[in-house]
Symmetry: D3
Subunit: 318 residues, 6 copies
C-alpha cells in the first residue's frame, strides 16, 4: 500500500496509509441508524477532516482524540475541501510503529522553520541589547519560559497556529523590527523588547497540548495583554534599579501593541517604538495568514477561494 | 461690598468679593495692544471662567495659577455661560484672610457628600465581607491608599471630577451593587470587591493636586485598568493561600468593567458579577453627569442646553 | 421503559418515553431515497431537536407540528449538542394519556417562576403607586391585557423566550427598578410605570401560540416601541386630567428604553428615570441570557461553549 | 442712504439700511470694559450674524430678540463669512415703517416657492387619490393642520429650515414620489400617503415662532416619528372601516422613513413603497442642502467651502 | 410524463422532465460509502439546487457542469427550499432535442424584459442627448461594447444577476434618472451619461459564460469603478475637443456612484447629478432585490422569509 | 534689532525682524471699530499665525497673501500657541533684501532633507529594478514629472505637508519597502513600483503654489487613486509588450494602498506586495505626524498636548 503524502499536499488522487495526530473525535448518529465518526488529523505540514463511514462499531474503540494514530484511507472532496475517508484506524504502538518510520514530531502541525535555528537567532539578538536593564529583563523572561517559548503557537487559530509559531512570529518580528527601528531612528533595544514581550501573556492565555491550543481560565478572564503586563511588572520589580521611565515605556509597548482599543489594547500607541511594534505585529500576522491561505489553496486558479477572516480572495499569481 | 455666592449659583446679577482656588492662569495679547488674562476659579460647589480685562499690568503679578485668591468682580454672560469679570485679585494671605472666613476646603471643588461619612460607610461594607481572602485583599488595598482614596476624583473631567469623587462613586456603586447582587443571587463579596477595586488604578493614572487632576506618565502609557490589575496582582501575591480561581474572578472584574473592548476593556464580561459591575459603573457615571448637567444649567427651561458628551439635551422638569 | 428526564437535563445516557409539545416538523428527502424527519420538541424546562430516521413512512402521519406528542427515543450527540433520536411518536390522546401523567403545562417551555406568584407581585406593586394618574393608567393597561400578560414571552428568541417570560422580565425589573429609583432619588412611580409599559407593544408585536412566538404584521411593520406608544397614548386619552407633562415623561420611557437609536429607540434617554429604565432592561435581559447559557451548557468545563449572540464564552465556575 | 440688498446677496461692498427680523440678541462684556452685542438677523432670502460694536449702551435698549428691526450698517468679513456691523438699530414701528416698505413677510426666512402655489398643488394631489380610506385620511390630517402646514419648516436646521419649508419638501417629494411609484409599479396612493404623513409629527416636534424653530417637550421626549404615528393612529381610529392591513402599511411608511435604525427609524423599510419613500426623502433633503450651500457660497470658486454636515466641498461649476 | 414547470414556479407537487443549464456539478462521498451529486440547474425564469441520490455511478458520466441537460425528477423540500431530486439526467443532444422544444435561450437565467426592446430604448435615449461631446462618448462606448451590453448581468450575485441584467438595470435607471433630472433641474445629459457609464467597468470586472458570472483578474485587482474610469478616460482622450471640465464631471459620476467610501467609491458625490445617480443606482438595485425575494418566496405568508443581505423580512401583502 | 529665530524655534522671548512667506491674509473688524489683520507666515522650518493689531490702516496695503514679506514683531502666547504680533510688515524687495540675506528657499516650508540628495537616491533605486517593463514604466513616469516630484508635498495638511514632502515620503518608503520585501521574500521590483507610483495621482489632485497646497478640480472630483491609475494605465499602454498580469499587479498596488475601502481604496490588498505597501505607507505617514507633533510641541512636558487627528497625546520622553 502507498504511503499517504503530507497533509498539505493531499489530493483526491491519493490513497494509502500514514501516521497522524488525531486532535478531535466525535461520533454521530447516521441517518440509517448506524453511527459515523468525524475526526481532525494533523501532521507537521497541515491538517484535515477525516471520516469513518463504514465499520464504525469496530473502529471507534481503536483510538481516542489526542492520540497518535495509524490510518488507511483515500482523499475525497466535500464542499470543495479535500478530506480523508478512512477504511482503517488504530492508535499508534510507538515501539513497533517506530520501525515503520513513526516520529511524534512528524505528526504535530509545526512551524516550517527549525525551532533550534529560531531559538539561536533569538539568543543572538538578546546578546546584542545594549541597555543593561532591558537585556537583564529579556534574559530573565526568556530563560524562565524557555520550554514554552520553543513549543507555543502564536495564536489559537488565526495566525502561526502551530508548534513553534510563537517563536517564528517573534523571530520574524525581531528581524523586521530591527530594520524599521534603524530606518526610523527609533530605540533598537526598546523595539526588540516590545517584540519579545508583547505576546508573552499568551504563554498563560493559551494551553498547548497534543498539538492543539485552548484558552486557559486566566486567558478567558484576563487576556494576554494584561497577563503579560503583570508578568513583566513582577519581573521588573525583581531587577534592582530598573528606571520607572523605562518601565513605563516597556509596559506601554505591551499595552498598546494591538494598535486600537477596539482590537483589545487598553491604550493606543503614543511612542515611535509603539507605532513601529503595532505595525510590525499586524503585518507579520497578516502575511502569515495570506501565505497560509495561498499555500493551502488546492485549486490551479490565479486567486484563492474566499478568505472568511480577511473578507476577500487572495492573489496567488500564475 | 457683597459676598459673591457659591459658584454653582452665580448669576449675572451677582457682584462682590470671595475666596477661590485659581487652577489656571493665562495671559493673552489683547487686540488693542494691551494684555488681558483668562483664569479658572473654583470653590467647593463649582467652577467658572474669570477674566481680567482692565488694570492687567498691575494685577497679573498678584497671584499665580494653583494659588488661593481673593477676588472682586461681577457675573457676566459669554456665549450663554455665566463668567466672572474681575476688578481686583490677589493671592490669599492665610493668616489674615482666615479672619474673614477663608477656609481652603471651601475653595476646592468637592463631592457634595462629607468625606468622613463616605469613608465610614466604606469601612462598614468592608467589615461585612464574608470571604476571608477578599476581606483581607480589600482591607490591605484600602488601608494602603487611604489618603488618596479620601481625596481623589473619579475621573479627570467626565464624571465625579472633584475632590472625593472617587469615594463618592464607589460608595454609591457599593450600595447599588449590593442590591443588585442580592436581587440576582450573585456573589455579594465579589461584587463589592469589583466595586472597590475596579478603578483603583486611577490612583496611579491621575495626579491630583491643587484641585485639578492630570494624567501621569503611567496613566498615559499603561492606563488605569492595567495599572489596577498589576497593583491587585501584587497585593494578592502577598496574601498566602489566595485561591487562583478567586484571583481570576477578581482580576476579571477589573479587566472587564468598561463592558466592551472599544471602551478600553481588554476582555468583556463573562461572569454574572462582571455584568452587574459594568452595568452599575456605567449607570452611576451617567447619572452623575446628568445630575451635574441639570444642576449646572442656569436657564429656567424644561431642558438643559446641548450636552456635548452625551449628545443630547436633558430633561430637568418643570 | 424509563421515563425520559426533563429536556433541560437530557444526556446521551438517557433513553425512554415522554410527553412533549412538537413546535416544528419537517420532512426531508434522505440520501438513500427514503425520507427522514426533523422536529423541535419542548417541555416546561427546555427544548431539543429530535429526528425520526427509521420507520418514517408510518410515523410521519401520526402527528403534526403544533401538537402534543408521546415519543420514545434516546439521547444522541450531533455537533456537540444532545438531540433525541425517536423510535416512536404519536399525538397525545388527552383523555387516555392524562392517566399516565400528561399535563399540557408540563409540555410548554415556561418561566421557572409560577405565574400566579409573579402576577400577585405585580398587582401589589401597582397598588403601591402614589400618583393617581399613573396608577389608573397602569391598572387599566394591565387589566385590559391580563390574559396575555400571564402567557407572553418577553421576546421571540433572545431572552425570556418562553411562557410567562414577559411577566418574569417585568417582575424582576420592577424589583430592581424600585431599588435603583430609591438609591438615585428618582421618581419611584415613573420607574415602575416604565417597567410595566416599556415592552407592552410586544403583546401586539408577537403572536404566541402553541409554545412558539412569531412576529405579527404590526410587529414587522411598526415594531413594539411604536405599538406600545400608540396603545399608551390611546389609554391616556381616556383618562381625564392626565397632565401632558406626565404623559411626555411616560412616553419618553417607552420610546427611549433601548438606550440608543441603533438599537431601535427613536429617542435616547434624557431623564434620570429613562437612564435607569434602559439600564435595568439591558441588565435583566443580559443576565437571563447568561443564566440560560450557563444552565443549558452540558459540559463539565469551567466555561460554556461560544455564545454566538454575546460573542464570548461565559464563566460557569468550578 | 442706500437700501441694503437681500441678505442672500450681502457683500462687504454693501452699506445702507434695511428691515429685518432679529431672532437672537446677546450682550457680551468687551475686553476694554464696555459691552458689545451679537445678533442674528434674517429676511426672506437668508440670514446673517450682526454686531453692535459702538454706542452699545444707547442701542441695546432699542430692541429685543424676536422683534422686527430697522438697522443701518455695512458688510464686513469675519472668518471668511460676511457679517453686518451696525451703526444704528431700533424696533420697527409698523404703522410708520410700512410707508417705507416694511412688510413682515419680507423679513422672515422663507421658501423660494409661493406658499399658495404649493398648497394648491398639494390639494390637487389629494383629490387624485383613488383609495377612499387613504383620501379621507389625508384630507382629515391636512385639513386639521392647514395653518401649520402653510408655515412650518421641514427641520430646525438641516434642510428646508425656513417658513414654508415643510410644504416645499412634501410638494417636491409628492412630485418625485409619483414618478417613481409609476416607474416601479408601486401603489401611487400609498406613496403619496407616505409623503404627506411621514413628517407630520414634526408639527408637534417643533415649535415655530418668529422665524425660528425649536424643539417642543414632546419633540425632545418622543420624537416626530412616534408623534406622527400616534396622530395618524388616532385619525384612522376615527375613520370607520379603515382596513387593518392598510393601516399597517401606512404606519410602516412613517415608522421606516429614515431608512435605518441608526437614523432613528424603529423599523426598516420592508415594502416597495417604503423603500421608495425613504429614498425620495433622503434625496430631497440632500439636494436642498446642496443647493443651499451652492447658493450661499460667496466665493467665485468652482467649489464651495467645506460643508461640515456633508463632510465635503460641493461642485458649483464654472 | 409531464413537463416540469419553469423553475420560478417549481413546487413539491411537481414531477416530470425538462431542459436546463447545469451551471455546477459536485460529487460527494455519501455516508454509506456510495456517492451522491449536487447540481445547480437554471432556466430563463430561475434556478434551483438538484440532487442525484440514486444510480449515481451511471448518471455521473452523462453530463458535466456548464452543459445543457435533460433531466427527470420531482420537487422536494430541504431546509424550507424546494429542490429537484433527479432520477435521470443526460447532456442535451441539440439536433434531436430541438424537436422536443429545446432552446438554449430558455435554459439561461435571463432578464424578464426582451433584450431587443431594452436595446432599442437605450439607443433612443442616446439619440436624445443634446451635448455633442457626451453623445459621441456614449455612442462610442456603447457601440464598442454592444455584444457584452446585450448579455451581461449587472452583478455576480446581488441584483440583476442574470443575462441581460446589466441592460435592464441601466434601462430602468435611465428612465428614472431622466425623471429626477427634470424634477430637480439637473443636467439631463450628464445624468444619462452617468447611468450608462457608471458600471461600464463591470464588463471587465466580470466574466460571463454559460449563464454564470465570475470575477476576472482585473476585477479582483482593480475593481469596476477604476476599470470604468480608465476605459472612459481612454475613450475621451480619443474625442477631440472634449472639455476638461466636462470630463471631470463625467468621471466624478463614475467615481462617486456608490455614494460613500465604505461602499467602495474613492470620492463621494459633490454635484447634484452625482447625488441623483447614486440615489437612483441604490434604489434600483434594492427594488430588484426586493422584487426577486418577493417573487421567489414560495410560502403563502404575508412576509417573505429572512433576507440575509437586507437583514429583514419583506412585505408581500395579502 | 535682533534677527527672529526659525519659526520652528520661536518662543515668547523672541523679538526682532525676519523674512517669511505670507500664505494667508485676512482683515477683520475689531470690536472698537478699527480693523486688525490675521496672517499665516512660514519659513523652511515651520509656520505660525501672526497678527497686526496696531497701525493696521497703514500696514495693510504693504503686502498681500502669497508674497514674501519682511516683518518686525515679537512672540506672544494665544490659547497655548506661540504667535507673532507684528509692529511692521512690507513685501520683500528682492534686489535690495537679498543683500540682507533674503533667500526664497529659506521662506518656504520644506522637507528637512535636501531635495537633490533624495532625488539622487530615487534615481539610484530606479536603476536597480531588474524587471525591464517596470523599470521602463518607472523611468517614464518619474522623468515626465520630474519638476513636480521635486516640489510637491505628500498631502495638503496631514503628513509631509511641505515642499519636497512627496519625495521625502517615497524615498523613505522605498528604503523601508526594500527591507520588508527582502524579509518577506516579496517581489522587490513590485514593491518599489508601488512605492513610487502609489500617490502619483497627487500630482494632479493637488496644486502647489507659493508654499501652499490646494485641491484641484480633478482632485475633488476623481481623487488621487483613480487619477494615478489612469495616468499609469496610459503610460503602460505606451510600453509595448507590457504583460497584462504585471499591469494588474501594478494597478492593484495603487488601487489598494489605503488598505481599506473606508479609507478610500476601491479594492483591498490581495497580494503580499500590496499588504506590504499599505503597511509601509501608513507607518511612514504616522511616524511623520508623530515626529512633527513632538518637534512642534513647545512645552517641557514628557508628553505633547492633545493631537486632534490621532486622538491622543504623544510621548516625547524626558
Amino acid at each position: 500500500m502507498n504511503h499517504l503524502p503530507r497533509l498539505a499536499h493531499l489530493t483526491t488522487e491519493d490513497a494509502g496509509w500514514g501516521f497522524f495526530l488525531c486532535t478531535y473525535k466525535e461520533l454521530r448518529a447516521g441517518r440509517s441508524g448506524s453511527e459515523f465518526a468525524i475526526l481532525n488529523l494533523q501532521d507537521a505540514s497541515g491538517q484535515t477532516t477525516a471520516k469513518i463511514l463504514a465499520d464504525v462499531d469496530r473502529l471507534k474503540g481503536e483510538f481516542e482524540g489526542g492520540e497518535f494514530v495509524r490510518v488507511e484511507g483515500r482523499g475525497s472532496l466535500y464542499n470543495g475541501q479535500v478530506q480523508l475517508v478512512l477504511s482503517a484506524i488504530r492508535r499508534v504502538n510507538p515501539d513497533q510503529d517506530r520501525l515503520q518510520g513513526f516520529r511524534e514530531d512528524d505528526c504535530i502541525l509545526s512551524s516550517p522553520r527549525p525551532i533550534d535555528e529560531m531559538w539561536e537567532e533569538l539568543q543572538s539578538r538578546l546578546r546584542s541589547v545594549k541597555n543593561d536593564h532591558l537585556r537583564i529583563l529579556l534574559n530573565r523572561v526568556v530563560t524562565d519560559h524557555a520550554d514554552q517559548l520553543k513549543l507555543w503557537p502564536a495564536a489559537q487559530t488565526i495566525h502561526h497556529a502551530y508548534r513553534g509559531g510563537f517563536l517564528e512570529h517573534i523571530a520574524k518580528m525581531a528581524e523586521v523590527g530591527a530594520l524599521l527601528a534603524k530606518s526610523y531612528d527609533a530605540d533598537q533595544d526598546l523595539v526588540l523588547t516590545g517584540v519579545v514581550l508583547h505576546d508573552i501573556g499568551k504563554l498563560q492565555e493559551l494551553a498547548y497540548e497534543g498539538g492543539a491550543g485552548s484558552y486557559t481560565r486566566d486567558g478567558n478572564m484576563v487576556g494576554h495583554i494584561a497577563l503579560g503586563l503583570m508578568l513583566v511588572r513582577e519581573t521588573i520589580n525583581g531587577i534592582s534599579g530598573f528606571p520607572v521611565e523605562l518601565r513605563a515605556q516597556v509596559e506601554h509597548l505591551i499595552a498598546s501593541h494591538h494598535g486600537t482599543r477596539e482590537y483589545g489594547s487598553p491604550v493606543e500607541p503614543k511612542s515611535i517604538e509603539a507605532f513601529i511594534l503595532a505595525s510590525v505585529d499586524e503585518l507579520d500576522a497578516k502575511i502569515n495568514q495570506v501565505r497560509r491561505a495561498i499555500n493551502d489553496d488546492p485549486s490551479p486558479d490565479e486567486f484563492t477561494g474566499w478568505h472568511k477572516r480577511l473578507g476577500r480572495v487572495l492573489y496567488k499569481g500564475l
